[in-house]
Subunit: 250 residues, 2 copies
Amino acid sequence: MKKQGEAKEGAKRGRGRPRGATEQGLETRQHLYETSLRLIAARGFDETTLRDIAQEAGVSVGLLYRYFPSKRAIVLALYEELSARYAEAAVKMGVGPWRERFLFALRTSLEVLGPHREPLTALVPVLVGGKEEGLFSPGTAFSRLRVQGAFVDAALGATDAPGGTTGPALGRVLYMVHLAVVLWWLLDKSPRQRATDGLIRLLERLLLPASLALKVPGAGAFVRTADALFRQGLLGEPAAPGDAGEEPAS
Amino acid sequence: MKKQGEAKEGAKRGRGRPRGATEQGLETRQHLYETSLRLIAARGFDETTLRDIAQEAGVSVGLLYRYFPSKRAIVLALYEELSARYAEAAVKMGVGPWRERFLFALRTSLEVLGPHREPLTALVPVLVGGKEEGLFSPGTAFSRLRVQGAFVDAALGATDAPGGTTGPALGRVLYMVHLAVVLWWLLDKSPRQRATDGLIRLLERLLLPASLALKVPGAGAFVRTADALFRQGLLGEPAAPGDAGEEPAS
Protein backbone atom coordinates (compact mmCIF):
# COMPACT_ATOMS: atom_id res chain seq x y z
CA MET A 1 0.00 0.00 0.00
CA LYS A 2 1.37 3.44 -1.00
CA LYS A 3 1.84 6.16 1.54
CA GLN A 4 -0.36 9.21 1.03
CA GLY A 5 2.62 11.44 0.21
CA GLU A 6 3.67 9.13 -2.57
CA ALA A 7 0.22 9.01 -4.07
CA LYS A 8 0.04 12.80 -4.03
CA GLU A 9 3.44 13.09 -5.64
CA GLY A 10 2.35 10.62 -8.29
CA ALA A 11 -0.77 12.65 -8.97
CA LYS A 12 1.27 15.83 -9.30
CA ARG A 13 3.53 14.27 -11.89
CA GLY A 14 0.50 12.78 -13.62
CA ARG A 15 2.02 9.27 -13.76
CA GLY A 16 -0.30 7.06 -15.81
CA ARG A 17 -3.17 9.51 -15.57
CA PRO A 18 -5.02 11.15 -18.44
CA ARG A 19 -3.88 14.64 -19.22
CA GLY A 20 -5.82 17.15 -17.15
CA ALA A 21 -5.92 15.09 -14.00
CA THR A 22 -2.71 16.58 -12.54
CA GLU A 23 -2.82 19.82 -10.60
CA GLN A 24 -1.02 21.67 -13.40
CA GLY A 25 -3.22 19.98 -15.98
CA LEU A 26 -6.34 21.08 -14.13
CA GLU A 27 -5.05 24.65 -14.00
CA THR A 28 -4.34 24.63 -17.73
CA ARG A 29 -7.75 23.16 -18.43
CA GLN A 30 -9.44 25.82 -16.30
CA HIS A 31 -7.49 28.58 -18.07
CA LEU A 32 -8.47 27.25 -21.50
CA TYR A 33 -12.09 26.76 -20.41
CA GLU A 34 -12.44 30.31 -19.08
CA THR A 35 -10.71 31.80 -22.13
CA SER A 36 -13.11 29.87 -24.40
CA LEU A 37 -16.20 31.09 -22.58
CA ARG A 38 -14.93 34.67 -22.55
CA LEU A 39 -14.30 34.60 -26.31
CA ILE A 40 -17.64 32.91 -27.05
CA ALA A 41 -19.41 35.54 -24.91
CA ALA A 42 -17.65 38.36 -26.77
CA ARG A 43 -17.84 37.07 -30.36
CA GLY A 44 -20.61 34.48 -30.46
CA PHE A 45 -20.32 30.71 -30.72
CA ASP A 46 -20.09 30.44 -34.49
CA GLU A 47 -17.65 33.29 -34.84
CA THR A 48 -15.17 31.77 -32.37
CA THR A 49 -12.66 29.21 -33.69
CA LEU A 50 -10.38 26.84 -31.76
CA ARG A 51 -7.49 28.79 -33.33
CA ASP A 52 -8.80 32.06 -31.81
CA ILE A 53 -9.09 30.43 -28.40
CA ALA A 54 -5.56 28.96 -28.52
CA GLN A 55 -4.14 32.32 -29.59
CA GLU A 56 -5.99 34.22 -26.86
CA ALA A 57 -4.90 31.67 -24.24
CA GLY A 58 -1.31 31.74 -25.45
CA VAL A 59 -1.08 28.03 -26.19
CA SER A 60 -0.72 25.96 -29.37
CA VAL A 61 -3.81 24.63 -31.13
CA GLY A 62 -2.37 21.17 -30.48
CA LEU A 63 -2.35 21.69 -26.73
CA LEU A 64 -5.89 23.17 -26.72
CA TYR A 65 -7.03 20.21 -28.78
CA ARG A 66 -5.81 17.76 -26.11
CA TYR A 67 -8.11 19.39 -23.55
CA PHE A 68 -11.00 20.48 -25.78
CA PRO A 69 -11.02 18.70 -29.14
CA SER A 70 -14.00 20.78 -30.35
CA LYS A 71 -16.17 23.73 -29.43
CA ARG A 72 -18.80 21.14 -28.64
CA ALA A 73 -16.56 19.79 -25.86
CA ILE A 74 -16.46 23.28 -24.31
CA VAL A 75 -20.25 23.58 -24.33
CA LEU A 76 -20.62 20.12 -22.79
CA ALA A 77 -18.08 21.06 -20.08
CA LEU A 78 -20.17 24.16 -19.29
CA TYR A 79 -23.37 22.06 -19.00
CA GLU A 80 -21.53 19.56 -16.84
CA GLU A 81 -20.19 22.25 -14.49
CA LEU A 82 -23.46 24.19 -14.17
CA SER A 83 -25.64 21.12 -13.71
CA ALA A 84 -23.30 19.78 -11.00
CA ARG A 85 -23.40 23.11 -9.15
CA TYR A 86 -27.14 23.21 -9.52
CA ALA A 87 -27.64 19.70 -8.14
CA GLU A 88 -25.51 20.70 -5.14
CA ALA A 89 -27.48 23.91 -4.51
CA ALA A 90 -30.88 22.28 -5.02
CA VAL A 91 -30.50 19.80 -2.14
CA LYS A 92 -31.35 22.65 0.22
CA MET A 93 -34.99 22.48 -0.92
CA GLY A 94 -37.30 22.82 2.10
CA VAL A 95 -40.39 20.90 3.17
CA GLY A 96 -43.62 22.25 1.66
CA PRO A 97 -46.16 22.08 -1.16
CA TRP A 98 -44.85 21.52 -4.70
CA ARG A 99 -45.52 25.09 -5.79
CA GLU A 100 -43.08 26.41 -3.16
CA ARG A 101 -40.49 23.74 -3.85
CA PHE A 102 -40.75 24.49 -7.58
CA LEU A 103 -40.18 28.22 -7.01
CA PHE A 104 -37.11 27.37 -4.92
CA ALA A 105 -35.80 25.07 -7.68
CA LEU A 106 -36.44 27.77 -10.31
CA ARG A 107 -34.82 30.61 -8.36
CA THR A 108 -31.84 28.43 -7.48
CA SER A 109 -31.34 27.67 -11.17
CA LEU A 110 -31.24 31.38 -12.05
CA GLU A 111 -28.80 32.01 -9.18
CA VAL A 112 -26.44 29.27 -10.35
CA LEU A 113 -26.63 30.39 -13.99
CA GLY A 114 -26.42 34.11 -13.10
CA PRO A 115 -22.64 34.60 -13.22
CA HIS A 116 -22.52 32.81 -16.59
CA ARG A 117 -25.26 34.77 -18.32
CA GLU A 118 -22.97 36.26 -20.99
CA PRO A 119 -21.59 33.02 -22.46
CA LEU A 120 -25.02 31.39 -22.05
CA THR A 121 -26.69 34.22 -23.98
CA ALA A 122 -24.12 33.75 -26.75
CA LEU A 123 -25.02 30.05 -26.66
CA VAL A 124 -28.81 30.52 -27.00
CA PRO A 125 -28.73 29.60 -30.72
CA VAL A 126 -26.87 26.40 -29.79
CA LEU A 127 -29.01 25.62 -26.73
CA VAL A 128 -32.27 25.95 -28.63
CA GLY A 129 -31.40 24.99 -32.18
CA GLY A 130 -28.25 22.87 -31.92
CA LYS A 131 -28.70 19.28 -33.10
CA GLU A 132 -25.77 17.92 -31.09
CA GLU A 133 -25.16 20.40 -28.30
CA GLY A 134 -28.80 21.47 -27.91
CA LEU A 135 -30.70 21.21 -24.66
CA PHE A 136 -32.81 18.35 -25.99
CA SER A 137 -30.02 16.39 -27.70
CA PRO A 138 -29.14 12.84 -26.60
CA GLY A 139 -25.51 13.99 -26.06
CA THR A 140 -26.53 16.44 -23.33
CA ALA A 141 -28.90 14.03 -21.57
CA PHE A 142 -26.64 13.50 -18.56
CA SER A 143 -26.63 17.19 -17.54
CA ARG A 144 -30.29 17.62 -18.45
CA LEU A 145 -31.41 14.69 -16.33
CA ARG A 146 -29.38 15.95 -13.38
CA VAL A 147 -31.26 19.26 -13.42
CA GLN A 148 -34.60 17.69 -14.30
CA GLY A 149 -34.12 15.38 -11.30
CA ALA A 150 -34.35 18.33 -8.92
CA PHE A 151 -37.72 19.33 -10.40
CA VAL A 152 -39.06 15.78 -10.26
CA ASP A 153 -37.89 15.69 -6.64
CA ALA A 154 -39.66 19.03 -5.98
CA ALA A 155 -42.94 17.34 -6.99
CA LEU A 156 -42.38 13.88 -5.49
CA GLY A 157 -41.10 15.10 -2.12
CA ALA A 158 -43.83 17.74 -1.69
CA THR A 159 -46.39 17.63 1.13
CA ASP A 160 -49.07 17.68 -1.61
CA ALA A 161 -47.31 15.32 -4.06
CA PRO A 162 -49.76 13.95 -6.64
CA GLY A 163 -50.00 10.16 -6.57
CA GLY A 164 -49.09 7.54 -9.16
CA THR A 165 -47.40 8.53 -12.39
CA THR A 166 -48.72 12.10 -12.12
CA GLY A 167 -45.96 13.02 -9.62
CA PRO A 168 -42.94 12.50 -11.92
CA ALA A 169 -44.96 13.86 -14.88
CA LEU A 170 -45.62 17.07 -12.92
CA GLY A 171 -41.90 17.31 -12.11
CA ARG A 172 -40.94 17.06 -15.79
CA VAL A 173 -43.59 19.62 -16.80
CA LEU A 174 -42.24 22.01 -14.14
CA TYR A 175 -38.74 21.45 -15.51
CA MET A 176 -40.06 22.58 -18.93
CA VAL A 177 -41.68 25.67 -17.42
CA HIS A 178 -38.31 26.37 -15.79
CA LEU A 179 -36.56 26.08 -19.18
CA ALA A 180 -39.00 28.58 -20.70
CA VAL A 181 -38.22 31.04 -17.86
CA VAL A 182 -34.46 30.52 -18.33
CA LEU A 183 -34.80 31.18 -22.08
CA TRP A 184 -36.78 34.34 -21.35
CA TRP A 185 -34.08 35.42 -18.86
CA LEU A 186 -31.32 34.88 -21.43
CA LEU A 187 -33.22 36.98 -24.01
CA ASP A 188 -34.36 39.58 -21.44
CA LYS A 189 -33.30 43.05 -22.61
CA SER A 190 -34.64 44.99 -19.61
CA PRO A 191 -32.16 46.58 -17.14
CA ARG A 192 -30.75 43.89 -14.79
CA GLN A 193 -33.30 41.45 -16.32
CA ARG A 194 -36.02 43.08 -14.24
CA ALA A 195 -38.71 41.68 -16.53
CA THR A 196 -37.71 38.15 -15.46
CA ASP A 197 -38.46 39.02 -11.82
CA GLY A 198 -41.86 40.25 -12.95
CA LEU A 199 -42.45 37.07 -14.94
CA ILE A 200 -41.67 34.91 -11.89
CA ARG A 201 -44.08 36.98 -9.78
CA LEU A 202 -46.83 36.39 -12.36
CA LEU A 203 -46.01 32.68 -12.39
CA GLU A 204 -46.16 32.63 -8.59
CA ARG A 205 -49.69 34.02 -8.73
CA LEU A 206 -50.74 31.26 -11.12
CA LEU A 207 -49.30 28.44 -9.02
CA LEU A 208 -51.88 28.45 -6.24
CA PRO A 209 -54.89 28.13 -8.59
CA ALA A 210 -52.87 25.55 -10.56
CA SER A 211 -52.19 23.45 -7.47
CA LEU A 212 -55.88 23.63 -6.50
CA ALA A 213 -56.91 22.66 -10.04
CA LEU A 214 -54.61 19.64 -9.86
CA LYS A 215 -56.88 18.18 -7.18
CA VAL A 216 -59.86 18.20 -9.57
CA PRO A 217 -60.56 14.79 -11.25
CA GLY A 218 -59.06 14.70 -14.75
CA ALA A 219 -56.33 17.23 -13.99
CA GLY A 220 -53.77 14.47 -13.43
CA ALA A 221 -54.46 13.22 -16.96
CA PHE A 222 -53.86 16.74 -18.25
CA VAL A 223 -50.41 16.85 -16.62
CA ARG A 224 -49.52 13.34 -17.84
CA THR A 225 -50.52 14.32 -21.40
CA ALA A 226 -48.40 17.49 -21.25
CA ASP A 227 -45.46 15.39 -20.06
CA ALA A 228 -45.96 12.79 -22.82
CA LEU A 229 -46.09 15.55 -25.44
CA PHE A 230 -42.87 17.07 -24.09
CA ARG A 231 -41.08 13.72 -24.26
CA GLN A 232 -42.38 12.90 -27.75
CA GLY A 233 -42.12 16.37 -29.25
CA LEU A 234 -38.95 17.84 -27.81
CA LEU A 235 -36.99 14.76 -26.79
CA GLY A 236 -38.14 12.59 -29.68
CA GLU A 237 -39.09 9.61 -27.50
CA PRO A 238 -41.44 7.11 -29.14
CA ALA A 239 -45.05 7.29 -27.96
CA ALA A 240 -45.72 4.78 -25.18
CA PRO A 241 -49.04 2.87 -25.18
CA GLY A 242 -51.65 5.14 -23.69
CA ASP A 243 -49.74 8.41 -24.10
CA ALA A 244 -49.70 8.62 -27.90
CA GLY A 245 -50.14 12.37 -27.73
CA GLU A 246 -53.79 11.67 -27.10
CA GLU A 247 -55.44 12.62 -23.87
CA PRO A 248 -56.23 9.62 -21.70
CA ALA A 249 -59.90 9.18 -20.85
CA SER A 250 -59.64 9.81 -17.06
CA MET B 1 -50.47 59.94 -70.90
CA LYS B 2 -48.97 56.61 -71.97
CA LYS B 3 -51.09 53.89 -73.48
CA GLN B 4 -51.29 50.72 -71.34
CA GLY B 5 -49.37 48.64 -73.89
CA GLU B 6 -46.49 51.06 -73.82
CA ALA B 7 -46.31 51.04 -70.03
CA LYS B 8 -46.30 47.24 -69.99
CA GLU B 9 -43.56 47.11 -72.62
CA GLY B 10 -41.53 49.57 -70.57
CA ALA B 11 -41.93 47.41 -67.48
CA LYS B 12 -40.79 44.35 -69.42
CA ARG B 13 -37.62 46.00 -70.55
CA GLY B 14 -37.09 47.39 -67.05
CA ARG B 15 -36.58 50.96 -68.26
CA GLY B 16 -35.60 53.09 -65.26
CA ARG B 17 -36.74 50.47 -62.75
CA PRO B 18 -34.66 48.92 -60.05
CA ARG B 19 -33.31 45.49 -60.92
CA GLY B 20 -35.78 42.81 -59.95
CA ALA B 21 -38.86 44.74 -61.00
CA THR B 22 -38.93 43.32 -64.54
CA GLU B 23 -40.58 39.99 -65.23
CA GLN B 24 -37.21 38.37 -65.91
CA GLY B 25 -35.75 40.06 -62.85
CA LEU B 26 -38.56 38.72 -60.68
CA GLU B 27 -37.96 35.23 -62.03
CA THR B 28 -34.23 35.44 -61.31
CA ARG B 29 -34.95 36.76 -57.82
CA GLN B 30 -37.37 33.90 -57.14
CA HIS B 31 -34.86 31.33 -58.40
CA LEU B 32 -32.12 32.76 -56.15
CA TYR B 33 -34.49 33.00 -53.19
CA GLU B 34 -35.64 29.39 -53.50
CA THR B 35 -32.10 28.12 -54.01
CA SER B 36 -30.99 30.01 -50.86
CA LEU B 37 -33.74 28.53 -48.72
CA ARG B 38 -33.09 25.03 -50.04
CA LEU B 39 -29.38 25.29 -49.22
CA ILE B 40 -30.03 26.81 -45.78
CA ALA B 41 -32.51 24.02 -45.04
CA ALA B 42 -29.97 21.38 -46.08
CA ARG B 43 -26.78 22.81 -44.52
CA GLY B 44 -27.87 25.23 -41.83
CA PHE B 45 -27.75 29.03 -41.85
CA ASP B 46 -24.18 29.47 -40.64
CA GLU B 47 -22.78 26.77 -42.88
CA THR B 48 -24.24 28.32 -46.06
CA THR B 49 -22.25 31.07 -47.79
CA LEU B 50 -23.32 33.48 -50.54
CA ARG B 51 -20.69 31.77 -52.69
CA ASP B 52 -22.38 28.37 -52.16
CA ILE B 53 -25.75 29.85 -53.10
CA ALA B 54 -24.42 31.51 -56.27
CA GLN B 55 -22.70 28.28 -57.32
CA GLU B 56 -25.80 26.16 -56.68
CA ALA B 57 -27.98 28.66 -58.58
CA GLY B 58 -25.50 28.82 -61.47
CA VAL B 59 -24.97 32.59 -61.27
CA SER B 60 -22.02 34.80 -60.35
CA VAL B 61 -21.63 36.03 -56.77
CA GLY B 62 -21.89 39.54 -58.23
CA LEU B 63 -25.35 38.86 -59.67
CA LEU B 64 -26.58 37.20 -56.46
CA TYR B 65 -25.26 40.17 -54.53
CA ARG B 66 -27.42 42.57 -56.57
CA TYR B 67 -30.55 40.72 -55.43
CA PHE B 68 -29.48 39.56 -51.98
CA PRO B 69 -26.48 41.47 -50.62
CA SER B 70 -26.33 39.27 -47.49
CA LYS B 71 -27.82 36.17 -45.93
CA ARG B 72 -29.67 38.55 -43.67
CA ALA B 73 -31.52 39.93 -46.73
CA ILE B 74 -32.70 36.39 -47.53
CA VAL B 75 -34.07 35.86 -44.03
CA LEU B 76 -35.83 39.23 -44.13
CA ALA B 77 -37.35 38.34 -47.53
CA LEU B 78 -38.68 35.10 -46.00
CA TYR B 79 -40.25 36.99 -43.06
CA GLU B 80 -41.72 39.50 -45.47
CA GLU B 81 -43.24 36.80 -47.69
CA LEU B 82 -44.63 34.68 -44.85
CA SER B 83 -46.05 37.59 -42.88
CA ALA B 84 -47.77 38.95 -46.01
CA ARG B 85 -49.32 35.55 -46.75
CA TYR B 86 -50.35 35.25 -43.14
CA ALA B 87 -52.02 38.65 -43.06
CA GLU B 88 -53.96 37.67 -46.18
CA ALA B 89 -55.10 34.33 -44.73
CA ALA B 90 -55.96 35.78 -41.32
CA VAL B 91 -58.63 38.16 -42.65
CA LYS B 92 -60.97 35.16 -42.86
CA MET B 93 -61.29 35.18 -39.05
CA GLY B 94 -64.92 34.61 -38.07
CA VAL B 95 -67.17 36.28 -35.51
CA GLY B 96 -66.90 34.80 -32.00
CA PRO B 97 -65.23 34.92 -28.59
CA TRP B 98 -61.51 35.71 -28.44
CA ARG B 99 -60.51 32.14 -27.57
CA GLU B 100 -61.99 30.87 -30.87
CA ARG B 101 -60.52 33.72 -32.90
CA PHE B 102 -57.13 33.09 -31.30
CA LEU B 103 -57.23 29.39 -32.19
CA PHE B 104 -58.07 30.33 -35.77
CA ALA B 105 -55.17 32.81 -35.88
CA LEU B 106 -52.80 30.18 -34.41
CA ARG B 107 -53.85 27.36 -36.74
CA THR B 108 -53.69 29.69 -39.75
CA SER B 109 -50.13 30.62 -38.81
CA LEU B 110 -49.05 26.96 -38.71
CA GLU B 111 -50.78 26.36 -42.07
CA VAL B 112 -48.97 29.28 -43.72
CA LEU B 113 -45.60 28.29 -42.21
CA GLY B 114 -46.14 24.56 -42.89
CA PRO B 115 -44.61 24.31 -46.38
CA HIS B 116 -41.54 26.24 -45.16
CA ARG B 117 -40.86 24.18 -42.05
CA GLU B 118 -37.43 22.94 -43.23
CA PRO B 119 -35.74 26.31 -43.83
CA LEU B 120 -37.49 27.72 -40.74
CA THR B 121 -36.14 24.87 -38.59
CA ALA B 122 -32.66 25.61 -39.91
CA LEU B 123 -33.30 29.25 -38.96
CA VAL B 124 -34.36 28.57 -35.34
CA PRO B 125 -30.94 29.65 -33.98
CA VAL B 126 -31.30 32.91 -35.94
CA LEU B 127 -34.98 33.43 -35.07
CA VAL B 128 -34.39 32.98 -31.34
CA GLY B 129 -30.83 34.13 -30.80
CA GLY B 130 -30.05 36.44 -33.72
CA LYS B 131 -29.33 40.02 -32.73
CA GLU B 132 -30.17 41.46 -36.16
CA GLU B 133 -32.41 38.92 -37.86
CA GLY B 134 -34.04 37.63 -34.67
CA LEU B 135 -37.77 37.65 -34.10
CA PHE B 136 -37.47 40.44 -31.52
CA SER B 137 -34.98 42.62 -33.40
CA PRO B 138 -35.88 46.16 -34.49
CA GLY B 139 -34.96 45.20 -38.10
CA THR B 140 -37.75 42.60 -38.27
CA ALA B 141 -40.40 44.79 -36.64
CA PHE B 142 -42.38 45.32 -39.84
CA SER B 143 -43.09 41.61 -40.37
CA ARG B 144 -43.58 41.01 -36.64
CA LEU B 145 -46.14 43.78 -36.29
CA ARG B 146 -48.04 42.53 -39.33
CA VAL B 147 -48.52 39.10 -37.70
CA GLN B 148 -49.03 40.53 -34.21
CA GLY B 149 -51.76 42.72 -35.69
CA ALA B 150 -53.88 39.66 -36.47
CA PHE B 151 -53.69 38.53 -32.84
CA VAL B 152 -54.53 41.99 -31.52
CA ASP B 153 -57.45 42.01 -33.94
CA ALA B 154 -58.53 38.54 -32.68
CA ALA B 155 -58.92 40.08 -29.21
CA LEU B 156 -60.29 43.51 -30.15
CA GLY B 157 -62.88 42.22 -32.64
CA ALA B 158 -64.13 39.42 -30.38
CA THR B 159 -67.68 39.25 -29.06
CA ASP B 160 -66.14 39.15 -25.53
CA ALA B 161 -63.38 41.71 -26.17
CA PRO B 162 -61.96 43.05 -22.88
CA GLY B 163 -62.36 46.81 -22.54
CA GLY B 164 -59.76 49.57 -22.34
CA THR B 165 -56.08 48.81 -22.74
CA THR B 166 -56.62 45.17 -21.73
CA GLY B 167 -57.86 44.31 -25.26
CA PRO B 168 -54.63 45.11 -27.17
CA ALA B 169 -52.56 43.75 -24.25
CA LEU B 170 -54.43 40.42 -24.49
CA GLY B 171 -53.78 40.36 -28.24
CA ARG B 172 -50.04 40.83 -27.75
CA VAL B 173 -49.93 38.16 -25.02
CA LEU B 174 -51.76 35.76 -27.36
CA TYR B 175 -49.22 36.57 -30.08
CA MET B 176 -46.46 35.52 -27.61
CA VAL B 177 -48.28 32.27 -26.80
CA HIS B 178 -48.50 31.70 -30.57
CA LEU B 179 -44.73 32.22 -30.91
CA ALA B 180 -44.09 29.65 -28.19
CA VAL B 181 -46.28 27.13 -30.06
CA VAL B 182 -44.49 27.89 -33.35
CA LEU B 183 -41.10 27.36 -31.67
CA TRP B 184 -42.32 24.06 -30.21
CA TRP B 185 -43.57 23.03 -33.69
CA LEU B 186 -40.19 23.83 -35.27
CA LEU B 187 -38.39 21.74 -32.63
CA ASP B 188 -41.03 18.98 -32.63
CA LYS B 189 -39.36 15.62 -33.32
CA SER B 190 -42.53 13.48 -33.27
CA PRO B 191 -43.79 11.97 -36.54
CA ARG B 192 -45.61 14.63 -38.60
CA GLN B 193 -45.29 16.98 -35.59
CA ARG B 194 -48.12 15.11 -33.93
CA ALA B 195 -47.08 16.43 -30.51
CA THR B 196 -47.91 19.96 -31.70
CA ASP B 197 -51.50 18.92 -32.42
CA GLY B 198 -51.66 17.53 -28.87
CA LEU B 199 -50.22 20.74 -27.46
CA ILE B 200 -52.88 22.81 -29.24
CA ARG B 201 -55.62 20.53 -27.88
CA LEU B 202 -54.27 21.07 -24.33
CA LEU B 203 -54.15 24.81 -24.95
CA GLU B 204 -57.74 24.70 -26.23
CA ARG B 205 -58.83 23.11 -22.94
CA LEU B 206 -57.16 25.91 -20.97
CA LEU B 207 -58.73 28.72 -22.99
CA LEU B 208 -62.28 28.44 -21.64
CA PRO B 209 -61.23 28.69 -17.96
CA ALA B 210 -58.81 31.46 -18.99
CA SER B 211 -61.55 33.47 -20.69
CA LEU B 212 -63.81 33.03 -17.65
CA ALA B 213 -60.95 34.09 -15.33
CA LEU B 214 -60.46 37.23 -17.42
CA LYS B 215 -63.88 38.45 -16.25
CA VAL B 216 -62.77 38.35 -12.60
CA PRO B 217 -61.68 41.74 -11.20
CA GLY B 218 -57.88 42.08 -11.27
CA ALA B 219 -57.42 39.68 -14.18
CA GLY B 220 -57.14 42.57 -16.64
CA ALA B 221 -54.19 43.92 -14.65
CA PHE B 222 -52.58 40.50 -14.85
CA VAL B 223 -52.79 40.51 -18.66
CA ARG B 224 -51.54 44.11 -18.88
CA THR B 225 -48.57 43.24 -16.68
CA ALA B 226 -47.73 40.18 -18.80
CA ASP B 227 -47.85 42.41 -21.90
CA ALA B 228 -45.63 45.08 -20.30
CA LEU B 229 -43.09 42.42 -19.30
CA PHE B 230 -43.07 41.04 -22.86
CA ARG B 231 -42.45 44.49 -24.32
CA GLN B 232 -39.74 45.38 -21.80
CA GLY B 233 -38.06 41.99 -21.60
CA LEU B 234 -38.13 40.65 -25.13
CA LEU B 235 -38.52 43.79 -27.21
CA GLY B 236 -36.39 46.00 -24.98
CA GLU B 237 -38.94 48.83 -24.81
CA PRO B 238 -38.47 51.26 -21.92
CA ALA B 239 -40.87 50.83 -19.00
CA ALA B 240 -43.86 53.17 -19.33
CA PRO B 241 -45.17 54.89 -16.18
CA GLY B 242 -47.37 52.39 -14.40
CA ASP B 243 -46.11 49.27 -16.12
CA ALA B 244 -42.55 49.22 -14.79
CA GLY B 245 -42.63 45.45 -14.55
CA GLU B 246 -44.62 45.90 -11.39
CA GLU B 247 -48.17 44.71 -11.12
CA PRO B 248 -50.66 47.54 -11.10
CA ALA B 249 -52.79 47.76 -7.99
CA SER B 250 -56.22 47.07 -9.61
